[in-house]
């Protein structure tokens, strides 16, 4: 019947039928309009029957052609797909658990309005949950986390896109080797940046547990953050603990501090842009991502964390020379980010050098951009925010919006530096540099040398995209690539300074 279907595609053929010459098939073909009166086929013969509306003169040729095609198709059946795995996809949770009885984690990325109930079902079955989905109501989040806490289960999220367990990347995460450091993060790209910065310093991460951005706020109270911190403090495979994110609610921050101090393990708290200061009792407090990684790496190597921090900031000073070499520019800084925490950190750093920065996710309410699509003065835009992701793929997967925006910004004569991040790893676009390059080229045609392009690559060579390859693509275009977001933001600001 498949061959018959193919024959039907031939012009002039209105009906086609291939059947073995059994009595039953004679009857069937008969009712299909074929007069097999003169045909004397046995059940072992194949009858190829073709009906055509073509005029008398063309029928012979058509018949010959159809016969030839039929023979060809019979020798090489069309549409026979290789039986390529086609792994069974269970339709129910019970079905999934019967296929993988040892399952211990559910990775949920369905629409927010369903995700909460799906998570509850999974917790009911004793699974830990990674809740990638966002738009889960906060009441639901609390319900889920309370239920999970009662059973000693982890709920990572909502809106948690990056998890590492025993070095395995889940969601959008990088392919770095495991090691003595473990991380609890209320921030996806924050986790990725620290993960990558540690790897660059030769230090691996065993577990990277995300809690979702809302966990450390007052309404949720840091339930999961504390649960994860406690678990990692008690885990003998974890030598250094790192806790990351935007500054938590004060009472939550206190709890975390207390817990960590009582834990008797070297720890680094990276509250990005936080007020807390003062390292004590083996607990270091940092304000930036690379800083957090540098200190944690030092601790993992048994070195002096404070010294590592000093060295790092001294290193940053040398960026001034690089800025000189690149050549000062006049005008505004436009940052276009795919990573929320990176954008936040970028603003913190740039503000110290350039003054107030506007953003769709500003450090202060007054600095909020009226229209995320229209930059004003110094601006940094987070493309991972809701207004860009409704019904669209995440900017780490689809780089086209940012590429286009790069060109748009370049057309503004008052822009002097364009800054952007390139996030690599599983789950991300397989060649973001190439995608962004299109926008950069157009921008360079429009602006010539007026604009300096600065970027950071959050990734390693073992990532599917290969960080060095990505770097090469950008550097070929004259983009100034930095080793971290902190350096890139500093460099970008320094180019415009003074």
């Amino acid at each position: 019947m498949l061959v018959a279907k193919e024959l039907l595609k031939t012009e002039g053929v209105s009906v086609a039928s291939l059947s073995m010459g059994t009595e039953a098939n004679y009857k069937i073909m008969g009712s299909g309009g074929f007069d097999l009166g003169g045909v004397d086929a046995t059940p072992n013969d194949l009858i190829i029957a073709v009906k055509t509306d073509a005029p008398e003169g063309e029928r012979e040729a058509l018949l010959e052609g159809a016969l030839e095609k039929a023979k060809e198709y019979l020798a090489n059946p069309p549409g026979r797909k290789a039986d390529s795995g086609g792994d069974y996809r269970p339709k129910s949770l019970d079905g999934a658990l019967s296929v993988l009885p040892g399952a211990n984690l559910a990775l949920i990325s369905v629409a927010g309005k369903y995700a909460g109930d799906v998570a509850m079902d999974c917790i009911g079955k004793g699974l830990n949950v990674m809740l990638y989905s966002d738009n889960v109501p906060v009441e639901k989040e609390v319900e889920i986390k309370k239920a999970a806490a009662e059973k000693g289960l982890l709920v990572m999220g909502p809106d948690c896109g990056t998890i590492i367990v025993r070095g395995v990347a889940l969601g959008m995460a990088n392919a770095c080797p495991p090691g003595p450091v473990s991380i609890v993060a209320a921030a996806g790209t924050g986790l990725q940046e620290v993960h990558v910065q540690l790897a660059r310093r030769g230090v691996g991460v065993l577990h990277g547990i995300g809690t979702g951005g809302r966990d450390v706020r007052r309404e949720v109270g840091g339930i999961m953050c504390l649960q994860a911190v406690n678990a990692l403090l008690a885990d003998d495979e974890v030598e250094v603990l790192t806790v990351l994110g935007k500054p938590p609610a004060p009472e939550v921050e206190q709890k975390i501090l207390q817990t960590v101090k009582a834990g008797k393990k070297p720890a680094v708290l990276g509250f990005i842009g936080g007020e807390a200061k003062g390292d004590s009792d083996g607990v270091f407090i940092c304000r930036e991502l690379e800083e957090t990684a540098a200190v944690a790496a030092a601790l993992a190597k048994g070195e002096d964390g404070a010294r590592a921090r000093e060295n790092l900031f001294r290193d940053y000073e040398s960026l001034r020379q690089r800025a000189e070499t690149i050549g000062r520019r006049k005008g505004f800084l436009r940052g276009l980010y795919s990573g929320g925490t990176l954008c936040y950190e970028g603003q913190l750093i740039a503000r110290d050098i350039l003054g107030p920065i506007r953003s769709n996710t500003p450090l202060e309410k007054e600095m909020k951009l009226e229209d995320s699509l229209r930059s004003e003065q110094h601006s940094m835009v987070d493309y991972g925010e809701d207004e860009f992701t409704q019904g669209r793929l995440h900017p780490m997967i689809d780089v086209s919006l940012r590429a286009e925006r790069i060109y748009e910004e370049a057309k503004d004569p008052e822009v002097g530096v364009i800054l952007f991040d390139v996030v690599l790893g599983y789950g991300c676009n397989d060649n973001p540099a190439a995608g962004l390059a299109e926008g950069i080229r157009k921008a360079q045609s429009a602006a010539g040398d007026r604009i300096a392009f600065v970027a950071s690559i959050c990734g390693v060579d073992t990532d599917p995209q290969n960080a060095s390859e990505q770097r090469r693509i950008l550097e070929e275009l004259g983009v100034h690539v930095c080793e971290s977001n902190a350096r890139a933001a500093r460099l970008a600001a320094m180019i415009l300074e003074g």
Binding site: D87, R89, P90, K91, S92, L93, G95, A96, L97, V99, L100, G102, A103, N104, L105, A106, L107, I108, S109, V110, Y114, V118, C122, G126, L127, N128, Y132, S133, K151, G152, L153, L154, V165, R166, V168, A169, L170, G171, A175, H207, Q227, A228, N230, A231, L232, A234, D235, Y426, G427
Partner: protein, 60 residues
């Protein structure tokens, strides 16, 4: 009480993927144990589903 979470950290992830297929593909690339569900919202409306959940709990 923290046993279940610890199990995950000690065993490594054995994942039921519910949603984006790419995540499942990436796990297989890393040779992690995983199964991907073909998840759809239930045909039964929220109301009926809630009643069915009650039925299950009550009886078993």
């Amino acid at each position: 009480m923290t046993m279940s979470m610890t199990k995950l950290l000690k065993e490594g992830p054995k994942v039921v993927n519910i949603g984006v297929e790419q995540f499942y593909a990436d796990l297989k690339t890393q040779k992690a144990e995983a199964v991907s569900m073909d998840w759809k919202p239930s045909a039964a409306g929220g109301d009926l589903l809630a009643r069915l959940k009650k039925l299950r709990k009550g009886g078993n």
